[in-house]
């Protein structure tokens, strides 16, 4: 019997997997097929039941919640066994949690009694265009899911400017140079993109050390010079993924944010704000990132009074 093709759908929570999946299911190429959905993130996917019903394959939800470790694999083995023997769909779309390692999914598919019953046809990772860089330094799976994908769907491109999209696309291609990228908004992806992907199983290296490209640093100082901060951000260029901080330019607390080079600031009305700035760097030594940002800040001395040339605020504020 021919193995059942499996399409893996990965991506962090909030990247738009649900919307994307519903959009795919509504397309004629899938509507005419018997599709089984295996959902690993209970209750949060919100798949359109009517669309799924039309495909005739059914939805199989695992009750393991968002945890994925060795002890939850047996549940997935059971579900896939049922799909293989009782349902025999034309294809399976398996949605992995935002914290799943796709290598685990391959291990499950190769476990007896499933071995040979399924074959991975394509691995598609949905990337939250706006927020991906926020989770990238903290969540291993975010990077690994991108690294293992055949296709990368950059979603929410309507919320980024052209530079932001280009920078993100470049960042993703540095993590995974072979994946084909699609730029979409609201999850509007054509099935032809998925069907046209060539699947190559990514052999992840043993994770003894974290990836070295991503660094984070924090500057706890309160007072900063606006011009020098702008200069620091601009000098870091593509090495600065994001920056967020509460700083005082001499006008009271202001929230400063930078995403892919764009800079914005606005006042904060909180009574006792916590001052400090966090930056995410890409392929830059942590010390260099810290040092560059620190040039914009003054030492935290209570009696210090700084006179500086005040420029009108930049961006929305």
């Amino acid at each position: 019997m021919k193995p059942i093709p499996v399409f893996l759908l990965t991506g962090y929570l909030g990247a738009g997997k649900t919307t994307l999946l519903n959009h795919l299911l509504a397309q004629p190429e899938l509507a005419s097929k018997r599709v089984a959905l295996v959902i690993n993130e209970f209750g949060t996917l919100g798949v359109d039941g009517q669309l799924v019903q039309q495909t005739g394959g059914g939805v199989f939800e695992l009750s393991s919640g968002s945890l994925f470790c060795a002890c939850t694999r047996s549940g997935l083995v059971k579900v896939l066994n049922q799909v293989a023997n009782d349902v025999r769909p034309d294809l399976v779309i398996a949605e992995a949690t935002g914290v799943a390692e796709t290598s685990d999914l391959y291990d499950v598919l190769e476990t007896t009694p499933l071995d040979g019953q399924f074959c991975v046809r394509a691995n598609v990772c949905t990337v939250d265009g706006l927020n991906f860089t926020k989770v990238l330094p903290y969540l291993k799976a975010a990077r690994n899911q991108v690294a293992g994908a055949d296709g990368l769907v950059i979603n929410k491109t309507d919320l980024l400017d052209g530079t932001g999209v280009d920078r993100l696309a470049k960042l993703l291609s540095e993590i995974n140079s072979r994946a084909v990228q699609a730029l979409v908004s609201h999850g509007r992806l054509d099935w032809s993109f998925v069907a046209g992907l060539e699947h190559i199983r990514h052999q992840a290296e043993p994770a003894q050390k974290p990836p070295e490209e991503i660094v984070t640093c924090s500057v706890p100082n309160r007072r900063a010079d606006r011009d020098r901060l702008v200069d620091a951000i601009e000098s870091l260029g593509e090495c600065l993924l994001r920056l967020k901080g509460v700083v005082d330019f001499g006008e009271g607390p202001r929230l400063v944010e930078s995403v892919f080079g764009s800079i914005s600031e606005r006042p904060i009305e909180t009574e006792n704000p916590r001052y400090g700035t966090t930056a995410l760097g890409w392929k830059i030594p942590k010390a260099e990132l810290s040092k560059t940002l620190e040039t914009a800040f003054f030492p935290d001395v209570k009696s210090l009074v700084q006179i500086s040339t005040v420029r009108p605020g930049f961006g929305a504020g």
Partner: protein, 549 residues
Amino acid sequence: MSTSTATEGKSLVRAAFLGEKTERAPWIPFVGCHAATLIHVSADEFLKSTDLICRGVQAAIERYQPDGIPVAFDLQIEAEALGCDLNWAKDTPPAVTRHPLANGTKLEELTVPCPDEGRIPVVLEAAHRLREMNPEMALYGLITGPFTLALHLLGTDIFMRMFDDPDYVARLLEFARDVAIAMARYYLDAGCDVIAVVDPMTSQIGPNQFVEFVTPYVSPVFESIHQRKALSSFFVCGHAQQNVEVMCESGPQNICVDENIPLDFVRDICREKGVSFGGNLQLTTVLLLGKETDAEKNAAECLAIGENTGFTLAPGCDIPFDTPPENLEAVGRLVRDPYRQETVRAMAHESQLDDVLDMSQYGRADKTIVDIITLDSEACAPCQYMVEAVQKIAPEFDGIVEWREHKIKYRESIVFMTSLLVKNVPTICIDGQITFVSKIPPKEELVAAIQKRINEKTRDRILRKQASLFLLGEEGERLQQVQENVERAITELGSDVTLSVVTEEDEIRSLGVHPSQTPAVVTAEYRVKSTRRVPETPIIKEWIKSLYH
């Protein structure tokens, strides 16, 4: 490094936790909702009832012979008490489906649960009763680690908040730390010996993030456990290899990992850090889907790596619901049987053999063959006794029985053993049939078994033998008289003998008789040894040998 004299239960677990060399590794099956299957109830019923938890865990203790066991394996107990909604299932622990902090609840509104909230009293009462029933067992109280609890309360949004609002994340983790400290205290008050902090979500972050978001919150939990003179363990399942070092540095006495991390890697780091370690039987491919021999093999591999020093043998995580109990029973026996461990290791190559012999025609030689499959009679007492048992009775069957030892430390003996479908050593096979397994047979039984086989072969021989009688000579009265005598003899015996009369001189000579020596009678025997198969060389050798006896 000191050597412990402890042999069982919590004293053995304590010695292993403290890094001592122990007589054997303690066995800690992480029996969570799997215990429900032993008393034929569902997981959801089980985890909600003190009575069922006690019955199930007690059944596991009786069957699996552990040195330590958890009261319950459910990382949702604290979350539920704090307002998380759960989805219950028949064959797994429940899963959190709604995170209060992501749905309107403020962090400031949460308070550390009391011992009488949610299902906390269910498990505490179970701990109390199990303690009374099993005073020498190391009872584990499993608590949800701060990072994983934070995730239950906020959801995976926490990873974004780490950047957007690290202060909030820090306050959340402080709260989760306080919950963990309280839960540890509750379990210790109920009589537990070991508190295991189970924090699987930490495998999702790297070591720098671990030091920032886990260590400051989990270290105080371990400190609070040690202040009570209790034992602490840190469980992290998943792909946590990158964090093993920082896990050790966060302060537990023991760390436990699952099959995603090589156990020797963990051992080396733990030894360097002065922390004991445990693991890592494979949950799905071995314990759930494998056979007893697979479980034994995996356990023997882990025990070899652990070297009985600062090591606890355990599955990698919560045992799957439907795990065959026999697999866990086999591990429980193996951990106490060094001889069986050696045998399992020696037999580990069996699955890689591709030259298994066809033994279906074995045992058709005239002599009865007694094969003794051993580890090595020169190094192993049971094997030596088995060989001696056969040696002693062999003279009684001199000329009829041939015996030999096959030591499975040699590959050809493993091939032979596998070909005869022998699974245990020492084993005695008689003419290829497994007759005595592991048990040293008393002399009378061994003699009787061999004699029985000899009788069977004699009977077979009589039934299968074909023979011809040739009457040689000129036609006449004398030849006819011989023929009548032969025919009467054949009839009276009931034998299946073909009678041929040969009168041609050339034919008479071809049978080795001179025509002047007639009338003569010549007998010829034919025995079918093999049909429609290709007999193996060792078997054919036996047939040829028998022609000269």
